[in-house]
């Protein structure tokens, strides 16, 4: 079996590889190339070297968007994972209707980001209406609106991953700890958390990258208003590329920088949390 797999490997992997090259590798290489050029549409480019990168870093919008994104990511990664973990703990206890609750919490994740954005826009504007304001009145409203939206969408998903992890925690160890007289908190920190480190790795990774790359929700909820103060990186790149004639190359340069940042953060996080994983 093993041998047969090895022999057929190139043929079996070919379709996926071709699709991957067409859909990911080729556009990526082209994207990097375009970031060094000046172009109106992607088919007529002239080489101009590094000046797109200079303009990208000199662009105040980009730096603002970067800080806004970082702040947003930090807050939402913490809140999403805390909430998801607490829910998972509750829903692995013997409570009636856990399956129903799990389904309910997971459901928001099934709705697309842009739709969620508009739903929350209506909800938030509906509430703020009573104080004669809208979500774009103050950048802080937009920021916390995004955090709430992101939590609502991702908590259920992360919860399911944590639930799976917690259900795999070895019952023998917990029983032994009970006999030794460990408290609930001790069991949590010394047994459960170390054993579910793989789940934590995945959840942190997913929330981190998803928050950093957030686009649809940002576009639907605030579109960057007021005055680009709630604009995140992906939206800034989109607006630079499509919204400003002559700035397409700069948009492309920003996209490459964006990729490097996301990749660096994600890989560092993977490395750090995976070191803490234990074999059970």
């Amino acid at each position: 079996m093993q041998k047969a797999m090895k022999r057929w490997f190139p043929i079996l992997v070919l379709p996926t590889l071709v699709a991957f090259i067409i859909a990911f590798i080729a556009p990526f290489i082209m994207g990097v190339y375009l970031s060094f050029t000046k172009f109106t549409t992607v088919t007529n480019a002239t080489w101009i070297g590094l000046s797109n990168y200079q303009r990208a870093f000199a662009n105040a919008d980009f730096i603002n968007a970067l800080w806004f994104t970082v702040k947003f990511t930090v807050i939402s990664v913490i809140t999403i994972n805390l909430l998801a973990f607490v829910l998972a703990l509750l829903l692995t206890k013997a409570i009636r209707g856990t399956n129903l609750f799990r389904t309910v919490f997971f459901m928001p994740n099934l709705i697309g980001g842009i739709v969620l954005g508009y739903i929350w826009l209506m909800v938030i504007n509906g509430i703020l209406y009573y104080s004669n304001a809208t979500i774009t009145t103050d950048p802080a409203y937009g920021f916390w609106g995004l955090v709430v939206l992101m939590n609502w969408q991702l908590v259920g998903y992360m919860m399911i991953i944590y639930v799976a992890g917690i259900q795999n925690v070895s019952v023998e160890l917990l029983e032994a700890a009970d006999i030794d007289g460990a408290s609930g908190f001790q069991k949590l920190t010394k047994i459960t958390i170390p054993q579910i480190m793989p789940s934590i790795t995945i959840c942190l990774f997913l929330t981190l990258t998803n928050s950093f790359k957030l686009f649809d929700q940002n576009l639907a909820l605030t579109a960057g208003a007021p005055n680009k103060k709630t604009q995140m990186l992906a939206l800034d790149i989109y607006n630079t590329f499509y919204g400003r004639p002559g700035w397409q190359g700069v948009g492309q340069a920003k996209a490459v920088i964006f990729f490097i940042i996301v990749a660096a953060i994600a890989l560092t996080q993977l490395y750090l949390t995976r070191r803490k994983e234990v074999e059970s």
Partner: protein, 471 residues
């Protein structure tokens, strides 16, 4: 467990990184698969042309026209429409595809600079020859070449509901001396009437004199483009009374925003006498404003003749066609008694020079058919509602909707001593200039910026954006 999750984590990592890339490079993806196949139909008859429409409010009408054209000639016209404020984005992505738009729109000389490489020279074309002599000046030119053909003259001002106005002028409780809307011929009188009307809004059964000052993202063009036209028009007019303001605007590297106080005058009047509270304006769209007006919640709204279709289509519309009139936007500039409504165009057709000759020709044929055949002309005047600059249209063949009639009436007044300001905003440095202006206005509305800061921002942005586009 450990091994499985490691593989899972790595797999996830791969997927996420890959999708990060794909997200950034959506534009690139479309292009790589396209470059070939663009010119496979050289000698065969052109089967399809593609028109990227700028005006969402009449998108459906174009579909019917395309169907008729296909029936008559066998050439399929693909019509696509960009959402409001998204035209440049849509065009950027569409034009890189293997079947790019063959007819598209540029918004004047500034837009032309961006699409220069794609605009065919139409100097010797039959289509250009359709323009009447006096309107040939309106075309977008560069050196000897002609690259954009104007196709619709439009006008904007303050649209008012004369039914509500008459009710006010007949009321015994009014305090102002102005006796009819015709007497309003400067800002002082406008302000007097508007503020008096606000005081009597219960009696007039309105929620505010002006419809919502729409400040939602993508809906600020009535202020950062149209309203901004007036102060800058006067600024350039003052500097060179006999010159062409649009050309002077294009040349100007800096502005002083001399009439910023006048802009503030009218903008504050809109805000303080609106049917919507200031704090809620950032969620209001132009559609909302037109609905306010159509439903009789407001007596006035600043917009152009294209707004007629929106007013007309609002369900429960209470405003009768014969009561919809235009009044100039008065801001308090000296001598504005002679000012009319702003008439001009930012609608220019361009033909994509990168598609093959036969397709360019076929695209032109469609436009010529649209503006000279009997069916086409009827559709243009009745369905599209364009006031065209072409010699194929007689004086009777003009749209009959109330606002278009008003535009024609104001244009006719030019033979007297009324002067309708041109659309100088086609000379504004860039889209970004307008968007930044809009963002600053929103902050002013929300009390986060003072008027002086807005003024300073506008002056600075004009300079920066002119420098940037000169590069």
């Amino acid at each position: 467990m450990g091994k499985f999750s490691k593989i899972l984590a790595l797999g996830m990592a791969g997927c996420m990184l890959a999708s990060a890339l794909a997200g950034c490079n959506g534009g690139g993806g479309g292009a790589s698969s396209t470059a070939s196949g663009a010119s496979s139909q050289n000698d065969t008859k052109v089967k399809e042309i593609y028109f990227l429409n700028f005006k969402p409010e009449i998108a459906e009408k174009y579909d019917a026209i395309a169907k008729q054209y296909e029936q008559e000639t066998g050439v399929k016209v693909k019509i696509d429409t960009a959402a409001s404020g998204e035209y440049e984005k849509k065009l950027t992505s569409e034009i890189a595809k293997s079947n790019p738009p063959t007819i598209f729109q540029i918004n004047g000389p500034v837009g032309f600079q961006n699409w220069k490489d794609y605009c065919a020279d139409l100097k010797d074309s039959e289509f250009y020859k359709l323009l009447t002599e006096e309107n040939k000046d309106l075309a977008v030119t560069d050196g000897e070449g002609v690259y954009g053909i104007p196709y619709a003259l439009e006008g904007y001002g303050i649209i008012y509901n004369s039914e509500i106005m008459d009710k006010y002028f007949k009321s015994e409780n009014k305090k102002s001396d102005v006796k009819s809307t015709d007497e309003i011929n400067n800002f002082a009188k406008l302000k007097e009437v508007v503020e008096d009307m606000t005081a009597m809004k219960e009696e007039l059964k309105i929620e505010g004199v002006f419809a919502s000052t729409s400040m939602a993202e993508g809906n600020q063009w009535r202020w950062q483009t149209h309203l901004a036209n007036l102060p800058l028009y006067y600024e350039f007019k003052d500097a060179d009374p006999t010159g062409n303001v649009i050309l002077n605007g294009l040349k100007a590297k800096e502005i002083t925003f001399k009439y910023n106080k006048e802009y503030q005058n009218i903008f504050d009047l809109y805000l303080n006498n609106s049917c919507t509270d200031k704090g809620l304006l950032s969620s209001k769209s132009v559609e909302d404003a037109m609905a306010d007006f159509a439903l009789g919640k407001a007596a006035m709204v600043q917009n152009g003749n294209w707004g007629w279709s929106q007013i007309n289509e609002v369900g429960g519309n209470k405003t009768k066609a014969e009561n919809i009139k235009f009044m100039p936007i008065y801001t308090g500039v000296k001598g504005e008694e002679k000012q009319g409504i702003c008439i001009g165009t930012e609608n220019y057709f361009a033909i994509n020079s990168q598609v093959d000759e036969a397709t360019q020709k076929a695209s032109q044929d469609f436009l010529i058919w649209l503006f000279s055949s009997d069916y086409g002309k009827k559709a243009v005047t009745n369905d599209l509602g364009f006031i065209t600059p072409f010699n194929t249209f007689t004086e009777k063949e003009q749209p009959t909707d109330p606002l278009a009639k008003e535009v024609l009436a104001w244009k006719a007044k030019e033979s007297g001593d009324i002067k309708n300001p041109e659309w100088l905003f086609t000379a504004f440095p860039s889209e970004n200039f307008k968007n930044e202006f809009g963002a600053a206005l929103l902050e002013y509305v929300q009390d986060q910026k003072s008027w002086d800061e807005v003024t300073a921002k506008v002056i600075e942005d004009w300079k920066l954006e002119k420098e940037a586009t000169a590069q």
